[in-house]
């Protein structure tokens, strides 16, 4: 009788042994986004598989006891997932979906327009993504290139940390449209940045008598890098005489500003643009 009980107890324990500690599912620890993978299942019979995460939910009717194949492109959002089957919901398997290779970059370049010769005036920020818009957080080299017509291109490389990289560059001494390129993992993005002449470096005017008036004209107005200041830039001529004052604002045309003002003996005439003051002329008596 004792032997019978012992045999019966042993039989129950043997039958229960496979159940204790045995997970219904075994998933790989990590899966690359969008790739196919397989989940091992134990037991027998039909069940419904649930894969649940912030990145998505997948349900599938499965046959327990055989590997469950998850096709390419089924689970593609990076993140943490749990998997369980309807017959053993308490036995949860977990896995992480990690980003695939770089397939897209988000590139923000600022500003879109700036003066030439500005130190660290151009900035670029890049976030690197895979084909499923997952942020690629593994360290990734990002190359930046900026080229302006008639100026030497500048190349720099930065390492993306946590999916982000940035760069600061000087604007070129030459005016023109700069092509600012960011490249990572064979993917590139281009932004165009207009580099415009800076403020005038100096203004020089000359005067010629013209009957009862004076014709005042500037030399071609250039910035400190030798770029022509754009037409339309306002140049101000001021004539001071015997306690009176006349002021005329003139836009640059073909790089020069020209105006006629009254020829008043002893008048003092100045020229300026923005904060830049040019030469001064005293009109003779």
């Amino acid at each position: 009788m004792r032997t019978g009980y012992a045999a019966l107890l042993g039989g129950v324990m043997l039958a229960a042994a496979p159940m204790l500690g045995a997970q219904a599912l075994t998933a790989p620890k990590t899966v690359e986004a969008g790739s196919s993978f397989s989940i091992e299942s134990r037991g027998s019979g039909q069940a419904t598989l649930y894969i649940v995460g912030l990145g998505g939910v997948v349900t599938r009717d499965v046959q327990l006891g055989s590997p469950i194949s998850i096709a390419e492109g089924t689970v593609f959002n990076a993140g943490h997932y749990i998997a369980y089957v309807s017959t053993s919901p308490n036995e949860v398997a977990t896995f992480d979906v990690v980003p695939a290779k770089v397939a897209d970059i988000s590139f923000l370049a600022r500003p879109s327009r700036l003066p030439v010769g500005l130190r660290n005036g151009i900035t670029g920020a890049v976030y690197v993504f895979d084909a499923y818009q997952n942020l690629v957080t593994t360290p990734t080299p990002v190359s930046f290139n900026i080229s302006t017509p008639n100026a030497a291109p500048e190349n720099r490389t930065a390492q993306a940390k946590n999916g982000a990289a940035w760069i600061a560059l000087d604007s070129s001494p030459k005016e023109g449209a700069a092509h600012f390129v960011a490249r990572a993992g064979g993917v590139s993005a281009v932004r165009v940045i207009q580099q415009v002449p800076g403020d005038p470096c100096g203004i020089k005017m000359s005067a010629k008598p013209n009957g009862k008036r004076i014709t005042l004209q500037t030399d071609p107005v250039r910035d400190c890098s030798g770029n022509a200041v754009p037409d339309g830039t306002i140049v101000t001529f001021t004539e001071n005489y015997h306690g009176g004052q006349s002021t005329v604002d003139v836009p640059l045309k073909r790089g020069v500003a020209q105006v006629e003002m009254p020829a008043i003996p002893g008048a003092n005439i100045t020229v300026a643009s923005g904060v830049v003051l040019g030469n001064e002329i005293r009109w003779g008596k």
Partner: protein, 167 residues
């Protein structure tokens, strides 16, 4: 060091506010370790962290009720699209999920040069629970490192990227 003190104080205020609001999660904020040329004002850092913590409340509410509109306040762009699609899939599968955050350990790591994005990392502990027709089906405690990108909108910072990296 003098720059650090107001931020720490602000963080303590944030934690106190969260506690007053009945939030369960404990929040620890490590001073920023910025990779970037732009200085991060204490007020900005505090707003970013506060809005991020609030986004977990919206996230949980939206997924627990299968109501994607509850994401509107705190999510934008890819994060919002992905979570909206997840909620649609949940509803189709007849399940709901809760993501109950227990603790956050947050550090801001990047402030973009033009000020249009902030990136933070968060070692977060939370409990995920799946239910169907009011019955709990599966539950799991999770410890993950999240990488988060937030962008400023009209009145608050919103989550544009929310991505777990595993334990």
């Amino acid at each position: 060091m003098t720059m650090l003190r107001p931020f720490v104080v602000a963080t303590m205020v944030l934690i106190a506010s969260a506690a007053l609001a009945g939030a369960q999660a404990t929040v620890h904020v490590t001073p920023p370790n910025l990779d970037g040329p732009r200085n991060l004002a204490d007020q900005t850092a505090t707003a970013v962290v506060k809005n991020y913590i609030e986004s977990w409340e919206s996230l949980n509410a939206a997924l627990a009720a299968n109501q994607p509109e509850q994401l509107d306040r705190d999510f934008v762009g890819a994060a919002k699209q992905k979570l909206t699609e997840t909620i649609r899939q949940q509803a189709k599968a007849g399940i709901r999920t809760t993501y109950k955050d227990r603790s956050h350990d947050i550090q801001i790591v990047f402030y973009s040069p033009e000020g249009l994005s902030v990136e933070l990392v968060d070692n977060v502990e939370y409990d995920v629970q799946v239910s169907s027709k009011g019955k709990t089906m599966a539950a799991q405690p999770v410890h993950s490192r999240y990488v988060v990108v937030m962008t400023p909108t009209e009145v608050r910072w919103r989550v544009r990227v929310l991505q777990a990296e595993g334990e």
